[in-house]
């Protein structure tokens, strides 16, 4: 299954949920905001949201800024 994450293609062998994806990427689920195909995912939906072939995912977080 191919996912486009932050503009780059990533290949995954097994189906996975958003929660599993964040775990695999070593990201803190409480600090990362997830958008799938332009729809913002509520943090409570990480566990039940299964990712599908071709999903475009944005993972964003706060950084320093003025």
């Amino acid at each position: 299954m191919e996912l486009i994450i932050n503009g780059e293609a990533h290949e995954y062998l097994k189906p996975l949920t958003v929660q599993e994806l964040l775990q695999q990427l070593n990201l803190n689920a409480e600090r990362v905001i997830v958008e799938i195909n332009r729809t913002i995912l509520s943090p409570t939906g990480h566990n039940e949201t299964e990712l599908k072939q071709g999903d475009t995912i944005e993972l964003v977080q706060f950084v320093g800024g003025g």
Partner: protein, 257 residues
């Protein structure tokens, strides 16, 4: 107590601080503390998957500081609205510093797209603090659609050039019914003092604090500059004159003419 009130919320500090470009998180935190600020701005960016950094938020005490996400990087209203919604999804309060800067060279705010985005975000319940050109007519339009403040620029972002838009900011202050926060371009405590003496309600500083070997000390200096300017405004500045007017008595000189 002389408090700054934005959207019904009271603040003791009239200095807002940006968190960008500091050499370390430690330097950033020291500057925040010494500035006595209560509002800090942050930006939203893609996570670097190859190099996930520790989160900025773990360094910012959310009980002490109100997090004000910006929409920096947005080139039009649509991008700004998307960033604002993402920021709100992070669970912060729905406060947003609206920035729409399509021009990468001067980073000047786009007045039309800013107004468009502000209108959408206000309707969605955001407390909108728009970064804007120092245009009194635009300030009125933004206020009319319900922005919580107006944030005219002193000079382009990061230039440290001071209140170059002084006369226009003066008109904005004269006409505004919402707090006027002078944002961008303030490079020295005297610039902050100048804006506050003019009657600005607050100032926002980032580069001037981050771009010095001693952010903590500079933050303290900006706090004093901001406070000094505010107190001078409240006291009322003396009238400017062309001719001298002696401060000492003009009688009793030690001569007989």
């Amino acid at each position: 107590m002389d408090q700054l009130i934005i959207a019904g919320r009271e603040f003791n500090s009239r200095l807002l601080v940006g968190t960008g470009k500091f050499a370390s998180n430690q330097a950033m935190v020291a500057a925040m503390e010494n500035s006595a600020c209560e509002i800090v701005t942050v930006a939203l960016r893609r996570v670097d998957l190859d190099n996930p950094e520790d989160s900025l938020l773990s360094h910012i005490d959310s009980d002490r500081y109100l997090l004000l996400p910006n929409t920096s990087g947005a080139r039009d209203a649509e991008e700004a609205v998307r960033l604002a919604r993402l920021a709100r999804a992070a669970g912060c309060e729905p406060w947003i510093k609206l920035e729409v800067t399509p021009d990468p060279y001067y980073l000047l705010p786009d007045p039309i797209e800013t107004l468009k985005a502000a209108e959408i975000l206000v309707k969605e319940g955001f407390v909108v603090l728009p970064y804007m050109p120092a245009d009194p007519v635009l300030a009125r339009h933004l206020e009319e659609i319900g922005t919580a403040t107006v944030m005219p620029l002193g000079a382009p972002i990061g230039t440290n050039r001071g209140v170059r838009t002084r006369d226009l900011i003066g008109i904005i202050i004269e006409q505004a019914n919402v707090p006027v926060i002078v944002d961008a371009g303030l490079g020295a405590p005297s610039h902050a003092a100048e804006a506050m003496e003019m009657g600005a309600d607050a100032v926002l500083v980032n580069t001037a604090l981050a771009d010095t070997p001693n952010p903590a000390l500079m933050a303290q200096a900006f706090r004093k500059g901001t406070e000094a300017g505010r107190e001078a405004y409240l006291a009322g500045l003396g009238t400017q004159r062309q001719q001298a007017e002696a401060s000492s008595p003009l009688t009793g000189f030690l001569r007989n003419d």
